[in-house]
Symmetry: C2
């Protein structure tokens, strides 16, 4: 029996129209409306409630081999989304169930039930599963604890601290008993870091020299650098790192659109025995339950907060992505596109 | 009772005359002759037989905080040396014993017996303890097996492959069942790598593009890069490294005298999950016995060779160090200064 509620017959979606050269523009995106079929046995029809917009998508717009395949011209983009089952041919996912998928950038879709994860909206709102309770939070957790081996009482510096991953890094490190320095690109974000996330030292990296800021915030140096930017902040961090310091290389937003010079002081890693390690969150999906066991109670008790910047409707999604790719992006916390209630 | 044989009363030594700005010159060194006192109880008088010349000494010529203190102006330089006890006030080190110390750059010295390590010249000639059986060999071993976690059947690239550490890297990696690519700065060195050390692919990094060479020598990429140079070869290696590749950062000779740009492609470390780690051999001195247990039999059976470039007399030592600091240094294998028979 096919259960249906408010079942959409069409879905508007965002496609890759052309590959950007350097900085992407709205012309690189196209919209299309496709028919949504009835689900077949074992499938469900999902209406997306919200979707995630993430900097790493920039890499998928290029036609280059990487750890995720490139987006294809004329095909819809992909990304994390939470939606509600509105028609079901699988009893594991009755109508009304909230599910997570990588089938964002579209309003609705049909997919095998087995490919979807149930999320508990009694615990947290749907969008939290795209942020602090989802891939974003897991990225911060894996970088801090699986890559950088952060230890209690250490000093951490995170660039892009007011962004989605950065906000999670600040909070998880503080919960772990560490001192946190965080940089951002505006006074508003710095105030958020200082007054809401309560980091020990927040600074606007566009004002003055990042190394001077790190010396002020951590006169004895830092132990871990969580790198979301690359560029001059990575270079400053290499100077500020103490012996046996670690760098979790998570993102290089300073160079996503245009190449930036490499750190001229990388050879400091020899005398200081530094370790720099790149990672991608998909290697750590098996750790999601362990992470959630920590994060869900912390969110419920208010020790973790989920801050988001929301734009409305799928038509707003391409501009939200372009915004994220700038240093000085407008978002604080997770950038979310709200698609349906 | 004080035993004496051929006991020198004076020692010629090399001192730091001034700190170099950029590339050092002979004017940065001075010679002096000092009196050698009689050893007191518990001390021995050692005549150095040979001494080591090492690139890392360049850093100690600067007045900057590092993992080893800077040389002091007006004081003798220091470095690895093997010498023979020629007068003894300690029964553990009778006259004739060969001992290792860090008191090179001088012809003779008096020191507490407890500070000196006996070397067995029945196993290998004295200079081998400065090279393949000493800090040089241990550096290669620690970088490959403690830092890069080299595994059998993997592909390793080492820059500066014909130098002291590089030659040891090539041999230890091949003994471990790995494919080795090695670069050097002359055709003579390339021939040595290919014909004597039997590496799978040797190239002159000054000819053509290092990345093209790596693609030719390892079409499927490399697993480990042992970095003695930094600079363009590090950048090429980052391109050539496969997923989960490792870089042991051992030296940056390309930038010792003048700064070089950092690798513009460091952010490849994210998607490829690369790990770059700096190390210094003094953290691994406790592993010397384990290393020697492997290296001594291999040297005796001919599976390891100890190649050296020898200059004669302490007056030749400063020029030998200046030579080493150039890309295109004249040495093949370990640079040794022979001081006495």
């Amino acid at each position: 029996m096919l259960e249906r509620i408010l079942m959409p017959t069409h879905s508007r979606e965002v496609r890759l129209a052309s590959r950007p050269k350097g900085e992407p523009t709205l012309d690189n995106f196209a919209f299309a409306t496709v028919e949504v079929p009835d689900p077949r046995p074992g499938e469900v029809l999902v209406r997306n409630v919200c979707m995630s917009v993430d900097p790493y998508m920039r890499g998928r717009m290029n036609d280059s081999k990487s750890y995720v395949p490139p987006f294809q011209i004329g095909h819809p983009l992909e990304g994390g989304a939470v939606g509600r089952v509105v028609a079901s041919q699988d009893k594991r996912l009755p109508v009304g169930t909230y599910v997570q998928s990588f089938l964002g950038w579209r309003e609705a879709f049909v997919a095998p039930a087995a490919n979807l994860q149930i999320v508990d909206v009694g615990v947290a709102p749907p969008s939290a599963y795209l942020g602090i309770l989802g891939i974003t939070g897991l990225t911060a957790w894996a970088g801090l604890f699986r890559i950088a081996n952060l230890k209690r009482d250490e000093t951490v510096f995170v660039s892009g601290g007011a962004g989605a991953v950065g906000s999670a890094v600040c909070q998880l490190a503080r919960l772990h008993g560490c001192r946190v320095l965080a940089s951002a690109s505006s006074e508003e974000k710095v105030a958020y870091l200082r007054d809401v996330l309560k980091v020990e030292y927040a600074f606007n990296y566009r004002e003055g020299n990042p190394l001077d800021q790190l010396k002020t915030g951590a006169p004895n140096g830092i132990d871990v650098y969580f790198d979301n930017t690359g560029g001059p902040q990575l270079e400053a961090a290499l100077y500020a790192l103490r012996t046996h310091g670690r760098v979790a290389l998570c993102g290089g937003i300073s160079g996503y659109n245009t190449p930036v010079p490499g750190p001229r002081n990388l050879m400091l890693a020899i005398g200081k025995r530094l370790r720099l390690e790149g990672f991608i969150v998909s290697d750590f999906l098996k750790d999601l339950p362990a992470f959630l066991a920590e994060a869900v109670p912390a969110l419920r008790s208010g020790k973790l907060i989920h801050r988001e910047t929301v734009v409305h409707g799928i038509d707003a999604a391409p501009a939200a992505l372009l915004d994220l790719l700038h240093s000085g992006a407008s978002n604080i916390g997770k950038m979310i596109v709200h698609l349906a209630d």
